[in-house]
Symmetry: C2
């Protein structure tokens, strides 16, 4: 799994910009339904509009933005049915990624997963939780050698991220307890290198979230009235 966007800091400018925009979307700074203007991004990053356009094409192909001719790009707003299918895709693909990854995970990798698991249980901040949870799951796929499988799984995580955040935001603490329990079962299976059990627990983990999500339609509506003028966290500027 070399497809982690955060790691690809170097490379062509269009990819760097794509990574920054992707991070902004995943962090919730841009949010579903919101528009992305080329000029604004170009100006903020201190570059021309051209690499921004390429970056938007990349994100479009990843499903993170949708493009209309002469109308520009915006973050798509998923409907419940589409999100449900995305979760079913995760339910089938991520266990495969885990099985592919398990034999190649080093002892240090597994140790790192334990560390993340403990930090998740300890932490309560939502933003931090999103980062740690992502690191935990994607970290468990770190041994997966397949480029395509890795990028597919990452894409699914990215596409579902905004709604996962909205879902976590409205639950009580017991939601954390359930997740902690499921993560523990998963970790045990990983410790034993038991891919059958690991697949089962992982699929169940995703499936339960999917079912619960189906019962919370408010996750889709919020559209938290983001202001254009005052982005809570400005895009990372082109730090020289």
């Amino acid at each position: 799994m070399t497809a982690d966007p955060a790691l690809a800091a170097e490379g062509a400018a269009s990819e760097r910009i794509a990574n920054q925009l992707r991070d902004a979307i995943l962090a919730g700074d841009i949010g579903p339904g919101e528009r992305i203007r080329q000029e604004e991004v170009a100006e903020r990053l201190g570059t021309s509009r051209l690499p921004v356009r390429e970056a938007l094409r990349i994100l479009e192909a990843e499903g993170l933005t949708e493009h209309t001719a002469n109308k520009g790009a915006r973050v798509p707003r998923l409907d419940p049915a589409e999100l449900d299918v995305l979760y079913q895709m995760r339910e089938r693909l991520e266990p495969l990624a885990l099985t592919e990854s398990l034999p190649h995970l080093s002892a240090g990798d597994v140790r790192q997963l334990h560390v993340l698991h403990e930090r998740i249980a300890a932490d309560t901040d939502l933003r931090e939780f999103m980062v740690l949870d992502r690191a935990f799951h994607l970290g468990s796929y770190a041994g997966c050698a397949s480029e395509q499988l890795g990028s597919s799984v990452t894409r699914l995580w990215n596409a579902t991220q905004p709604y996962r955040r909205a879902f976590m935001a409205l639950g009580g603490p017991q939601r954390r307890w359930i997740i902690d329990h499921e993560h523990r079962l998963l970790l045990d299976a990983i410790d034993r290198r038991d891919s059958v059990d690991a697949e089962r627990y992982l699929a169940g983990h995703i499936r339960r979230t999917r079912i619960e999500l189906a019962g919370h339609p408010e996750v889709f509506h919020p559209a938290p009235a983001r202001r254009r003028s005052a982005p809570a966290v400005p895009l990372p500027t082109a730090a020289g």
Copy 2:
């Protein structure tokens, strides 16, 4: 499944170019390992290099080309392990697409599948077979409403296409018979709208192909020495 590239003829120029390049790759006109020069494509399509660049970014995000800074794009050459994983992904995702599609398939859609099935059995030309087989399988997912699932399945088909062609090229007629048989079972299940059986037959169909492919390493090597222009005789330099 609105992601079929062949249907998206209109739209921005970058997408049109991406579609044309995609078709060329899928038809085998470009082939794994071969390079794609922006200027050549731009000249051939009578446009500037700029939309070609965007098109290449799109194809890169789809996994159909790989991009290196200042070195350009080329069609990636998959190794056997990667192809095997791609087939495992198909094995898990395409049954889901079929289950999502089945309830929404019209009687006319199913009838069209029967027509394709008969044409596949009758035809013997390889190039034609590749087109029909693709139309048959992707046609069975036509009822799938999910944008993301449709595009993912299409991507997997595209990525594996060159090797599927090489595989079909070296087999005898009995390979066609087996495929015909498996397609018939699949069609029966579709006729009965039996998603459980349909998933089973489809997964088996893909799985058998994967296993057989693993026993034919020559599929990867051939690289049929595509030359852009017969370099047997080195060009006289500085022909002015």
